[in-house]
């Protein structure tokens, strides 16, 4: 049974349909990359998958015990976070909040899960450090650990490599790939970086306010739309105009 199934789904942003005609399914262990240009409806779709937006039409099903609040979400960073005085541990532990319900404090189990994810991402040395003093890559690792604290089955990453330098970008991609392989956790990633997307993802969903392509990555590379998009970004990059193409070779 699929974790997420979209059938003819459409989502609106401030009353206007942002993305429509969505027909895709995500299965356990998949690594799906959602690609498309700015304003193609990626962020709106993410809100829909997180249950923060109801579909305008069509339907979104969750199976296999998945619930919107059990998805480990890694949002784009906000300006306020850049100078936020919090230790990495406080941030990571806050990933457990969704499981607490109305209970006010964290339990020993919550702390154990936080420790487990700290170990998994090898960031024990960052635990007591102040979040605002970490480098961009370290901050993303901390946020990834927080996302893992919230999720058993699925991670949803919104442009996790935006603003990172090529070396750190590659490390983060490897880390995400490792988590995906070792624990069979499903990964959905929104990315501008199409070249890394086709390199790491098992499936691609290409949006252009409607679904232009959904399928296996190897089919996408062969497809006309995929070729065109890969070609366009490659040309833009050589012209030095790429939007978020860091880290691609």
């Amino acid at each position: 049974m699929a974790l997420i199934t979209c059938q003819n789904a459409a989502f609106a942003y401030e009353g206007n349909t942002a993305v429509s005609n969505l027909n895709f399914a995500v299965h356990r262990g998949d690594y799906l990359c959602i690609v498309g240009e700015n304003g193609s409806g990626k962020s709106t779709l993410i809100k829909g998958l997180l249950g923060l937006k109801v579909p305008q039409s069509g339907s979104v099903w969750m199976g296999d015990g998945l619930q919107p609040n059990k998805i480990g979400y890694l949002p784009q960073q906000t300006a306020a976070q850049k100078d936020f005085p919090a230790s990495a541990y406080e941030v990571i532990l806050s990933g457990r909040l969704g499981t607490r319900g109305i209970l006010p404090f964290y339990s020993r189990v919550d702390k154990k899960i936080a420790e487990k994810n700290i170990k998994r991402l090898d960031i024990g040395n960052l635990r007591g450090r102040c979040y605002r003093e970490l480098s961009g890559g370290q901050q993303q690792r901390v946020l990834l650990a927080r996302a893992l604290c919230a999720a058993e089955k699925m991670l949803l990453l919104d442009e996790p490599v935006a603003g990172l330098d090529p070396v750190v970008t590659r490390e983060l991609y490897r880390l995400i790939e490792k988590i995906n392989h070792e624990t069979n956790i499903t990964v959905i990633m929104v990315s501008h970086d199409i070249h890394s997307a086709v390199k790491y993802a098992s499936h691609i969903l290409h949006l252009q306010n409607t679904q232009v392509f959904f399928g296996k990555t190897k089919d996408y590379v062969q497809s006309e739309v995929g070729n065109r998009f890969l070609g366009i970004t490659r040309r833009q990059e050589s012209g030095g105009e790429a939007g978020g193409g860091e880290g691609s070779d």
Partner: protein, 275 residues
């Protein structure tokens, strides 16, 4: 020193003022951390101006100031919150609009009814004589409510402050907690306003948080530190104002400025030490 304190506390009005003031500065400091980090500092300032307007109207109607002010300011808090969250209207402009409007209404109401006299000055810059016995009881009850709610919802407030989108995605009702913060802030501001003055009360919210953020690195230590800084600054401010016969509100703010500068200097010295 002890003699001075004993002498101070032989005056009932001073004891009342200190009790209310300490509780208000504690609440303001706790809420301030969240407000400053969420970039909502202006809401505190806007609310205090709304409070000035309601004080003036309450005096004109001969009603108890707190019972009129609290509901109106709480409503204004929810409204300001809505405005700040709605990106279509620019939040800071809307806040300025509301605060100047209530200031103008307040001044007009005062000049029509009692005339522009020392009352206006007291509303603006605070008066230590303002606390009646029922005010003290109400303040203590409300301050305890604020403290309990803050402790119970501490983890949620942290999550909502740090990353609203993530908190929302994990099923936390962020709107509810934003309203809770706005509600508690409104109450704190009304309680502290008459002593600190409408123009100065927001300093109790903003200064301690900014001061402790110079030095502390964890959310919990920032919260605890700003609570301590706020209480200490208030107390020293009151003592200084008693000794030097300076206005209480302004003296407390001056002490806060000194604390901020001290922490700031301490931080740059520590930084240089590491480098």
């Amino acid at each position: 020193m002890i003699d001075i304190l004993l002498e101070m506390f032989s005056y009932t009005f001073l004891v009342r003022a200190v009790i209310v003031g300490l509780l208000v500065s504690l609440c303001a400091a706790l809420l301030g951390v969240s407000l400053v980090l969420k970039r909502y500092s202006m809401i505190g300032d806007g609310l205090s101006h709304v409070g000035f307007g309601t004080l003036a109207v309450a005096t004109a109607m001969n009603a108890s100031p707190l019972t009129v002010s609290i509901p109106v300011v709480v409503m204004a808090a929810f409204m300001l919150l809505r405005i700040s969250e709605n990106s279509k209207i620019k939040g800071d402009a809307a806040i300025a609009l509301i605060s100047t409007s209530s200031l103008a209404i307040g001044v007009v109401v005062i000049s029509i009814t009692t005339g522009m006299n020392t009352d206006v000055c007291n509303y603006m810059f605070g008066s230590i004589l303002a606390m009646s016995k029922s005010d003290v009881i109400l303040s203590i009850v409300l301050a305890i409510v604020v403290l309990i709610l803050f402790v119970i919802f501490y983890n949620k407030i942290f999550a909502v402050t740090f990353d609203e989108t993530f908190a929302q995605a994990t099923g936390v009702k962020t709107g509810l907690y934003n309203m809770l913060i706005a509600f508690l802030t409104a109450i704190t501001i009304v309680l502290g306003m008459r002593m600190m003055g409408a123009l100065l009360i927001s300093s109790l919210i903003i200064f301690p948080a900014l001061t402790s953020m110079r030095v502390c690195k964890k959310f919990k230590s920032v919260t605890i530190c700003s609570a301590c800084v706020s209480v200490l600054c208030f107390f020293s401010g009151v003592v200084i104002s008693y000794l030097q016969a300076t206005p209480t509100g302004a003296s407390v703010v001056i002490v806060n400025i000194i604390a901020f500068l001290l922490f700031w200097t301490a931080n740059s010295i520590i930084r240089r030490g590491y480098a």
